[in-house]
Every structure is written in structure tokens, then in C-alpha cells.
Amino acid sequence: MITSFVLKALDRNIVWVTALLLVIAALVPALNLMTAPDHPLHIPTYIVSLFGKYLTYALLALALDLVWGFCGILSLGHAAFFALGGYAMGMYLMRQIGARGSYGNPLLPDFMVFLNWKELPLFWHGFDMFWFAALMAVLVPGLLAFVFGWFAFRSRVNGVYLSIITQAMTFALLLAFFRNDMGFGGNNGLTDFKDILGYSIQSNGTRSALFAASAIALALSLVITSGIVRSKYGKVLIGVRDAESRTRFLGYRVEHMKLFAFTVSAMMAGVAGALYVPQVGIINPGEFEPANSIEVVIWTAVGGRGTLIGPIVGAILVNGGKSIFTAAFPEFWLFALGGLFVLVTLFLPKGIVGTARQVIERRRDYHKARQAEAARALAAEPQAAE
């Protein structure tokens, strides 16, 4: 069953992109670690980290594409799932600091000592173990999405209403994480990480490993989502997107379909967040900003909604553009981003990948039509000669 799931998942494009991802997962760390800094093929560590970050963003955009592109749920809360995964990882990294913090407390993170807390809050227990933190990075966003989605889909909140309440959810989380009493470092968030699984978080090796992990996670997620949308369930999901009432009247439990997609998507976003935090070295409540969630939507839209590969392309392009733009002309970045929102929705509704596919298909159809015409003409010719 699993093999058939995977085999179905792998159409030609997905195979290509997955293979590419796996290749760079091996090649980039190799070029970073095994070449001398002055070698022409050497990739500096900051580039590795930067692209590692882009890959986690791509994973987030891919997660959004599963619900938005294939199920029609425009979630404006995906950055919240991302941030929750990030916080889970951040908590593990905080616990790893141990007695090396400024206050030297072996058990409590610095900010707790600063706030005069005497013991570790209950929900911080267990985060000294990597497997537990990794599990939480997936489970917490998943659980939140499950509960939230269960309520929302059951009462048939959809369309823009759903978008608005997901945004309200993100906003509530933002406010909550800003509070010092929550026990997540308040305004400053979690930072000053030292090491992960015993390796220094600053070292080139760790950075490369994180990059590889991100690329592999992205490749895996791509295969999984592709499998989902190409399975029978995926077909129904697309049915939900295009004609929800009709699908329901055909006898499908629409809310279950949506809930499954939403939860899986949130878990993927959580993984992305968990990979993101060690690469940027900080997680703070700013990640919950509703604006961030909307930005994820534009990555997906630029690349092409409902194409799976598009969101990956879009996330990397937009964020690459952002890095270049904010360095060169910082005051114009918002103009560019705003313009991107407007232009893409007006002129490129299918996104880059979607439009490219359309063009290719049209050309193929055109060629086919030409060939068919030529064949007909050939068949007709002898008769004319006679």
C-alpha cells in the first residue's frame, strides 16, 4: 500500500525536484566542508545557513499549498504553526545551554532566573531530550490545528470567515507569547543557543547538517504531499475545493477531509519551524505576526498555488529577493512586496509554475494539433494527386 502511495506520488516533475533536493542536501555541505575557503566552488557558511532558512520557508509554503491549493482553505495562521514548532525546538535548545547561561543556573533558562522564578514550569519538562522536543514540534501544531479545525470545519466556517478566524488565532497567540507570565521568554523570546545534540550550533558542520536536514525534510514532505493529493483521498480533497456542497451531497464527510489536510499541513509547518530556529538562532513572538502568515500566502501564490513545486520556487525566489532588496534598498522592499501581491493576483493567478505548465501544455497541444493536421494532409495528398 505504501509503495503504491509513493509510486503514485512520483510523477516526473516531483521525481526531478526530489532528486534535486537530495543532491543539494549532499552536495552543498560537501562543498562547504571539503573545499578550502578560496576554492572557486566553495560555499561560505552564511550562504549555507541562508539557503537552509529558505528551505524551511519553502517547507512552510508547501504546507500551506496542501490546504490552500488543494483544499481551498486560505489559512492566515500558518506562521503560528511554524512558530509553535520553532518554540518547541527553541525550548530544547534553551535547556541545552544548561549552566552556561549568564546566570549560570543549571536548570532554569536565563529569563526565568531574571524573572525570579524558582522552579521549571511543568510544560518545560522533557524538553531536555531531543526526541521529546522533536515530537512536540510536530504534535503541538498538529494538536492545535486539529482542535481548531475540528471546531471550525464542523460548524462549516469557510472561505474568508475561516481566514479571518485563523488570523484571530495567530493574533491571540502573538499577544499570549508576548506575556512574560507565559514562560516563553516574553518579548525577547528564546535565544543565545549554544549547541544541538552536543554539537556547537555555530560550527560549519552543524550548519551544513541543518541545511541537509532541511533539504531532506522538504524532499520527504514533497513526496508525502504529492502522495496525498494524488491518492483517492486527494481527488476528493480537490472536489471539496471546487464544489464543497456537491462533494458533501455525494456522501463524503467534508469536514473530516479538511481536518486531515489541515492537521497534516500544520505538522509540516511545525517541522519547518523546528528546522528554522537552530539556523537563525532565535525565536520570538514576532514570528506570530499576522503579517508573516500573509507573506507565506504570497510565496505560495507567486510560485503557483496547487502545484506543489510552485510554493518551493516561490518561497525561495521571494525570500531571495527580500534578502537582496532589504540590503540594497531597504525602504523599497515593502513597495516591492506590496506590488508583488497586487501584480501576482492580477496578472499571474496561477503563479510561475502554474503559468509555465500552462504554456508548455498549450505548446504541446499546438504541436499535436499541427502534427495531426500534417498527417491528415499527408493522407489526403495521394487522393488529390489521383
Binding site: 474568508v160 488570523q167 484571530a168 491571540a172
Partner: protein
């Protein structure tokens, strides 16, 4: 005839002169008497001084107030050579002498040449009572009120007699109220019979206020058994009343917040509620309105300072026009291509909001701009136990006025009729000859213009910065969704409900947690009623 007139005039003048001289003479004589009495303060023992103070108090002359105050402070000295009494101030190793009655300086004298007039606590009490009585007779209401408050703060049985006489003469209501309370307070610390004290407790309870509470609790400590239940009941009554006022104040704050939400959301109720357009740039329209106010005030400040009180009235139509035009441009340029694709509209307008924010940031800078309150919007007044600031008051009034205006526009004008027709059935409206694209554009411009007007009002209570709109966008959407899309009344009820709910949760949960709770409640509420409080019924819902 002429001569008689002049004669008459001279006569009058003469009479007036005589009267003046007589008055001056009595005045002088009185001053002489006073001086003698003040001088007599020195030299004697405490009992004599006390008698002298009482005698001075009987004159009722406010001139002796400084001397008595100085005596109480221990700053009244007698010159050994001639027995004159002075108020002194230390000046180096000498004393600077100040005339006890006139307050003029009268040279310096070595410390050894003066003798301090001794004072003890008994004498101080007498002085305080006397002073209270004296200032209470001052012709100025403010002075009397202050004196009455002083007695209220330091009640003593000695002040009772004075208070009774003053009360009999007092006509000003406010002063009278304080005096009565002060009297009651004094009764409570005196050794009068219990019945009188019970009456006093009743008086204190009736006036209420925080000071009454402390008064009664201090009285409770010393009161005897028969009085205790009365005082305890009184305290409870006051506390209940205070709780009621606090609730009232909370409702007021809630109304105030609700009016802000209403202002922010009402434009959205048009664009989102009526037209179904998700306008994420709505907050930026509010921001543009606020910046219009800033620009208007800036011009007024530099060119027509006299018009400052009118700045808001001038800014109002300008803000409406500016944001209306921007809204029109957005609708014609972007939104009209996206009708029927609400999620895409959301993204495109979000892009517009980013552009507008950055544009304002580039032009005006990222910092907060100062927008002033006109004089009629600053200050506050008291209503019972509540304090009400004028700007909040006006904003509530204004938000309701805007609401009424919109309601009128939608329900009673041809334009409103067309708007509603297009919203309900676009094709039918079009068949009836309504230019639907124009109605769309105008409706959107109207919603944006209303947001701009809201910005003028919000500039009075919020920081005017490029991020102003961001703070309102989520709240506005929640208000509209909560109230029920397509229903202005729903927006009104939704805004005020959320405002009051927020302010009632705040004392228990804190500001941030209160807000989170409200958001969670809303999310749960939408599960129950996905179409809001006042949902539209019928087929239009599914469209």
C-alpha cells in the same frame, strides 16, 4: 438747572468722601486693636495664649490668619525691647522680621533679641479650630472649600462649635456638603451621645467617596459596641456603591472602546459587510485620515493659529475626500478585476496596504506625529463617581453620528437604494438600469471615506504613525464578522459588546489576557453562529 446738577454731584461726592474716611478710621482702629491682641499673644503661659487665640478668633478677621499659622508652626516671636510680635524667617544668623498682620518685612534682628512664643499641642488644636473657623468665613468659595476639606482631613471635636455657626451661614452647595461631612467626621471623634454619632455615620455614608471609607474605618477602630453595627453597615453600603460606580466607569470605558471599534469597523461594514470585499487596506485608510488631520493641523499651526479649534472640522471633509479618492482608485485599478475571488482580493489589498504604509513612512517618516486636541476636546468632568474625558465623550458621540449618517444614506437615499440593490442581486439591478460598476466604485469609495473620517477621530486618542492602521485591521474584521456581515446594526452591537466585554475582562485577567480571552470567545462564537450575531437570512447567504 445746570448749577443744581453740579451742586447735587458735589454733595454726593462729599457724602462718599465722609463715608470713606469713617470706614478707613474704623478699619485703622480695628487694626490697632488687633495688633494689641496679637502682641498680647506673647509673654503669657499657655492658658493665657489660648484665651488670646480664642479672642482673636472671635474678631473673625482674616488678617490674623498668618500670625496664627506662624504661631502653630513655632515661627511667631516677640521682640524683647518693645514686646511687638513678629513672624520670623531665618536669615543667616539673624531673623528676618515680618509684620504679623500686614505681612510686610520689617527689617532684621539678632536672634538673641527675640523670644519665641511657646506653643503646645493644646494650643495648636485651639489654633486649628480658630483657623478653620476663620478661613471658613472667607468670602471666596475656593478658600472656604479648601478650609472645609482641611477640617475633614483632621476632624476634631473642638471644631464642632465653629462648624455649626459656619454651617448656619453657608449658602454654597459644594462647600456645604463638605462642611456637613466634616461636621459628621468631627462628631465621630467627639464624645457626643451615640444617637448623634449614628446620625453622623448616616451623613458620611450618604456622601460616599473614598475618604468616607477611610473615615468610617478609622472610626470603627475606636467606636463602642452600640455604634459598631451602624458603621459596619455604612462601610458596606459605601463599598457597594463604589463597586456600582466602578462598574459604571467600566461600562463607560467599554463604550469608549466600543466607539473606537465602531469607528474603525464601520467603513469595513460597508466594503466587507455590504459588498463582500475583503479590504485589508482598510486600516491604512484610517491611517490616511489621521495623517490628513496631521497635515491640516500643521498648516493651521504655521499659517492660521487662530483656527486651531476648527482643525478637526476642516480635516473631516478633507479626510473623507482623500481616502475616498484613494479608495476609488483602488477599486477601479485593482478590485474590480477580482470580484468573485475574495481570497485574491484579500491578497491584493494586503499588497496595497503595504505600499500605502511604506509611502506614508517615506513621506512623513516612521516616527509618531503629534496631533493636538482642540480645546473643546481636552479635559475631563466628573459624573458622580466617574471621570469622563471630553475626547472620549466626543468620540462616542461622533461614532454614533457617523453610524446614523450611514444608516440614513443606505436606507433613505437613492444611492443607498442602488447600493443595496446591487448587493442583493447584481444582474437584476443591472437589468433595471443601475450602472453596477459605478455603484461598486462609489460604495467602495464611501467605505474608504468613512474609514478616513474615523482616522480623524482616532488621531485624537492614538499615536499617528504609519502602523496606526495595522492595529485596527484585525479588530475591525472581528467586529464585522461578530456582528454579522451585511448588517450595520450588527456592527454597532458587535462593536459595543466587544468593547464592554473587553473592559470587564480586563480587571480580572489583565489587558493582554483579556484581549486574548475575547479573541478566543469570538473564535468559539463563530463556531456556534458562523454568520455572526445578526445573520442575513435567505438565499443570499449561500451566494
Amino acid at each position: 438747572m445746570h448749577a443744581r446738577l453740579i451742586h447735587r454731584f458735589l454733595q454726593c461726592l462729599l457724602v462718599a468722601f465722609c463715608v470713606m474716611v469713617t470706614m478707613l478710621a474704623t478699619d485703622l482702629r480695628a487694626a490697632d486693636d488687633l495688633r494689641a491682641m496679637v502682641n498680647a499673644l506673647g509673654g503669657g503661659n499657655f492658658q493665657q495664649s489660648q484665651k488670646q487665640v480664642e479672642a482673636l478668633a472671635k474678631t473673625g478677621d482674616p488678617k490674623i490668619v498668618p500670625a496664627l499659622e506662624a504661631l502653630s508652626e513655632g515661627d511667631l516671636y516677640q521682640r524683647k525691647t518693645d514686646g511687638t510680635v513678629f513672624i520670623v524667617k531665618p536669615a543667616g544668623s539673624n531673623f528676618m522680621l515680618i509684620d504679623a498682620l500686614t505681612g510686610d518685612t520689617a527689617g532684621e534682628e539678632a536672634k538673641a533679641a527675640l523670644e519665641k512664643i511657646k506653643v503646645n499641642n493644646g494650643l495648636r488644636r485651639t489654633i486649628r479650630a480658630a483657623l478653620g473657623g476663620l478661613t471658613l468665613m472667607s468670602p471666596e468659595t475656593g478658600v472656604r472649600l479648601q478650609a472645609a476639606n482641611t477640617i475633614l482631613r483632621t476632624p476634631s471635636a473642638d471644631a464642632l462649635d465653629g462648624l455649626d455657626t459656619v454651617l448656619a451661614a453657608e449658602t454654597d452647595g459644594a462647600v456645604r456638603a463638605v462642611l456637613e461631612k466634616a461636621r459628621a467626621a468631627s462628631v465621630l471623634v467627639s464624645d457626643l451621645p451615640v444617637d448623634e454619632k449614628k446620625a453622623a455615620v448616616a451623613t458620611v455614608v450618604e456622601t460616599g467617596g473614598r475618604d468616607s471609607l477611610s473615615l468610617l474605618s478609622s472610626a470603627l477602630a475606636t467606636a463602642d459596641e452600640s455604634l459598631r453595627p451602624d458603621i459596619e453597615a455604612g462601610i458596606k453600603q459605601i463599598e457597594d456603591r463604589q463597586a456600582l460606580w466602578a462598574a459604571g466607569q467600566n461600562i463607560w470605558y467599554g463604550l469608549s472602546l466600543g466607539s473606537v471599534l465602531l469607528l474603525a469597523a464601520i467603513g469595513l461594514a460597508i466594503t466587507f459587510g455590504v459588498m463582500g470585499i475583503i479590504n485589508m487596506a482598510h486600516g491604512e485608510m484610517v491611517m490616511l485620515g489621521a495623517y490628513t488631520t496631521f497635515v491640516v493641523q500643521q498648516i493651521i499651526r504655521t499659517s492660521f493659529p487662530g483656527l486651531f479649534d476648527w482643525s478637526l472640522a476642516i480635516a473631516l471633509p478633507l479626510a473623507f475626500i482623500v481616502t475616498g479618492v484613494v479608495g476609488l482608485a483602488i477599486e477601479r485599478g485593482i478590485i474590480r478585476f477580482l470580484y468573485g475571488r475574495p481570497l485574491e482580493t484579500l491578497l491584493a489589498t494586503w499588497g496595497v496596504s503595504l505600499i500605502l504604509q511604506q509611502a506614508v513612512r517615506s513621506i512623513f517618516g516612521p516616527t509618531n506625529q503629534e496631533v493636538g486636541n482642540p480645546s473643546w476636546m481636552s479635559g475631563a468632568f466628573d459624573l458622580g463617581g466617574m471621570t469622563i474625558t471630553w475626547n472620549r465623550m466626543w468620540i462616542i458621540v461622533f461614532s454614533l453620528a457617523v453610524f446614523a449618517f450611514l444608516l440614513f444614506l443606505l436606507k433613505k437615499t437613492p444611492m443607498g437604494l442602488q447600493m443595496r440593490a446591487v448587493t442583493q442581486n447584481r444582474r437584476m439591478a443591472s437589468s433595471m438600469g443601475i450602472k453596477t460598476p459605478w455603484v461598486d466604485a462609489l460604495t467602495f469609495a464611501l467605505g474608504s471615506g468613512i474609514a478616513g473620517i474615523a482616522g480623524v477621530a482616532l488621531s485624537q486618542i492614538d499615536n499617528v504613525s504609519p502602523n496606526l492602521g495595522q492595529g485596527y485591521i484585525i479588530d475591525s474584521f472581528i467586529v464585522v464578522v461578530f456582528g454579522g456581515v451585511g448588517n450595520l446594526w450588527g456592527t454597532l452591537v458587535g462593536a459595543f459588546t466587544l468593547g464592554i466585554l473587553n473592559k470587564f475582562l480586563e480587571p480580572y485577567a489583565g489587558a493582554v489576557l483579556g484581549k486574548i480571552l475575547v479573541l478566543v470567545l469570538i473564535i468559539l462564537f463563530i463556531q456556534k453562529r458562523p454568520r455572526g450575531l445578526f445573520a442575513l437570512k435567505g438565499r443570499a447567504v449561500e451566494a
